[in-house]
């Protein structure tokens, strides 16, 4: 198995790493002391040079994002750590928050100094109750020790940190929906511009970064941007946490160096596909990226460019594996229920179109598909993508289109069987709550 540099998971399996004393004995809060002696602009330069790209899924360069923050508005600057991890297939941030919260806090403090921000917030999804208690306990320890609050580490710098719990809305992972939610509103995305860097939380300059992105910052400051850039491949610097799940022998979270071959990852890290089965397909970046058939995975590497060239996306590396026992029609129906349930309801194409597509996938799965159904779905996808305020609509159509395109035979066969009078014995993958949804996004 390839040896990968461990930046984020270096201490994650060490006993008591969530406690300040233990984390500090392994080097935590060493870098922030160094950072506080550095020129904040120099830190932004280092992060720019490092090539670090946002780990939440969009891959926007982190240093560049920081450099958009105006420094002379007289308004406070806010830093938000997006811990609303809700993308199906993704569970990496939870690991960091639970088991190395001080790494996350130190990364945030470094970012806060660079941005000259005196207030930051970790927006954590409501269901992450245990990680919430771990992070809050870590913050409490920091306040006690003088690592948070007034004059931290004996400097003139003041910084306060708050943990804010979401309440079950996937869309709050979208940065402007998150801001609305944090302002006490429904989590519905805002039109951009203005971008959050200019007018974010309560119309003040705001930077929103993913947990994993921020956790890379201490390494970059300690070793320099060049050192970070030397790991991984061109345009994809550093390491990446991959959340691996589905039909594999060893699901879990792996820190790999960018550019690692996808098939090696499945064979070595994931321990291969379940015994007695063959690989059918992979959704490599979380549910909102195009699915890849087994034969497309060969020769592809886990980095932004290689995945893009292969017609999919690294996203946030929520790596879901399906073996040949999977009914692809049921799989995409499962995802379509997710998207129709999680649409925030603000834009008509997404709110209505999402439900419509789910209904069509359901009738195909049930063996009641109609001859024009695939064209109808394509037409709906065209009406949703590009016609909504946020990227939810754009990304929802990616799995739909790719599933139909790459498994056309399966879809067509299911539909033509209806005409031939061939009874389809359905094996549903789960129960979708057409029944009742107790709470509902809209």
């Amino acid at each position: 198995m390839a040896k990968h540099k461990q930046i984020l998971l270096k201490n994650i399996r060490e006993e008591g790493q969530h406690l300040l004393e233990k984390a500090e004995s392994r080097g935590a809060y060493k870098v922030i002391r160094k950072a506080l002696e550095m020129d904040p602009l120099k830190i932004i330069d280092e992060v720019k040079n490092s090539g670090l790209r946002g780990r939440g899924g969009a891959g926007f360069p982190t240093g560049l994002k920081w450099s958009f923050v105006p420094r002379d508005t007289g308004k406070p600057v806010y830093l938000i750590n997006n811990a609303d991890e809700s993308e199906p297939g993704t569970f990496k941030d939870r690991l960091l928050l639970e088991n190395d919260p001080h790494l996350v806090i130190e990364g945030m403090l470094c970012a806060a100094w660079a941005l000259q921000s005196e207030w930051s917030c970790i927006y954590i999804r409501g269901e992450y109750a245990y990680p919430y208690t771990r992070v809050q306990a870590a913050i409490d320890e920091c306040y006690e020790k003088g690592y948070l609050g007034e004059n931290i580490f004996g400097t003139n710098f003041t910084h306060h940190m708050v943990v804010h719990r979401g309440a079950g809305a996937y869309i709050c992972g979208e940065e402007t929906a998150l801001l609305n939610s944090l302002e006490g509103k429904k989590g519905q995305p805002r039109l951009k511009p203005p971008f959050p860097a200019v007018a974010g939380y309560y119309a003040c300059p705001t930077v929103i970064n993913n947990v994993e992105s921020l956790s890379n910052i201490p390494f970059i400051i300690e070793n320099g941007g060049e050192a970070y850039k030397s790991i991984g491949v061109e345009n994809s610097a550093g390491t990446k946490l991959v959340s691996a799940s589905g039909h594999i022998n060893k699901p879990g979270i792996y820190e790999i160096e960018m550019g690692y071959p996808l098939m090696d990852f499945i064979e070595d890290e994931c321990g291969g596909v379940r015994d007695g089965h063959n690989l059918l397909a992979v959704i490599p970046g979380g549910s909102s990226v195009p699915v890849m058939r087994a034969e497309e995975c060969k020769g592809v590497n886990l980095d932004y460019d290689s995945m893009k060239n292969a017609g999919s996306s690294l996203g946030c590396a929520g790596f879901m594996v399906m073996d040949d026992s999977t009914d692809v029609v049921e799989a995409v129906l499962n995802l379509s229920h997710f998207y129709s349930h999680e649409s925030c309801g603000q834009c008509t194409p997404c709110r209505e179109g999402g439900h419509w597509i789910e209904k069509i996938f359901r009738r195909i799965a049930e063996g009641n598909g109609m001859p024009g159904d695939l064209k109808l779905i394509e037409s709906l996808c065209n009406q949703i993508g590009g016609h909504t305020i946020c990227a939810f609509g754009d990304t929802m159509v990616l799995p739909y289109r790719s599933f139909i395109q790459k498994f056309e035979k399966e879809f067509k066969e299911r539909i033509s069987n209806v005409l031939k009078g061939v009874e389809h014995e359905r094996v549903p993958m789960d129960f979708q709550s057409e029944l009742v949804s107790i709470g509902s996004a809209h």
């Binding site: 297939g89 999804r125 245990y130 804010h164 719990r165 309440a167 006490g184 879901m320 997710f338 979708q432």
Partner: protein, 185 residues
């Protein structure tokens, strides 16, 4: 009927309001606090929260219906949320759902006769590597099989552990002895 809430809950909300640049940011915490004391969010609660955080009642109501973790009606003492999204579905979540129906004879959203259990199917809980799984109140139970799930339900019926996160105390319940609160490793 008037609205009542403990002094402790009141104080906690005051403390949380001070953490933000504006008190209205604490509205989500206020909803959690009320839900914790009353089991659900009533119209009276919405009026009270509205006064506390300085938002219109209709605005607070909007939040109580938008966010799925807030309840407008009482649920079972133990509310079981079975994850139904892709990774869990691939790994057999359906069998857990069947167990739930079989054992309690109720549909999602209904409460068992003794008021002890209710359940629903929820979207991805970020536990895909330990699928299938469920969340009971605020505690995760991962790497389940139908058999393990049934044992778990039997134990909960008998031992009645605290599985909830208290916003007022800032603490997660003890959980079930011998069951880790997280298996993400």
């Amino acid at each position: 009927m008037g609205f009542s809430i403990s002094e402790k809950a009141r104080q906690r909300l005051e403390e949380l309001k001070k953490r933000y640049p504006k008190p209205q940011s604490a509205v989500m915490s206020a909803l959690y606090i009320v839900q914790e004391e009353h089991g659900h969010i009533s119209d009276e609660a919405i009026d009270w929260i509205s006064g506390e955080v300085g938002l219109k009642p209709v605005h607070v109501l909007e939040l109580a219906t938008f966010y799925t973790m807030y309840r407008r009606k009482p649920l079972g003492k133990y509310h079981v949320q079975v994850c139904r999204t892709l990774s869990c579905a691939l790994c057999g979540a359906k069998k857990l759902m069947e167990k739930m129906q079989e054992r309690y004879g109720i549909a999602p959203g209904q409460v068992s006769e003794d008021g002890m259990f209710s359940y629903e199917y929820v979207e991805c809980l970020g536990s895909c590597g330990t699928a299938p799984m469920c969340e009971i109140n605020d505690t995760y139970f991962e790497n389940l099989t139908p058999e393990k799930f049934e044992e778990l339900l039997v134990r909960i019926e008998k031992e009645q552990p605290d599985l909830s996160l208290s916003t007022i105390e800032g603490k997660l319940g003890e959980g079930l002895s011998g069951c880790p609160k997280s298996e993400v490793m």
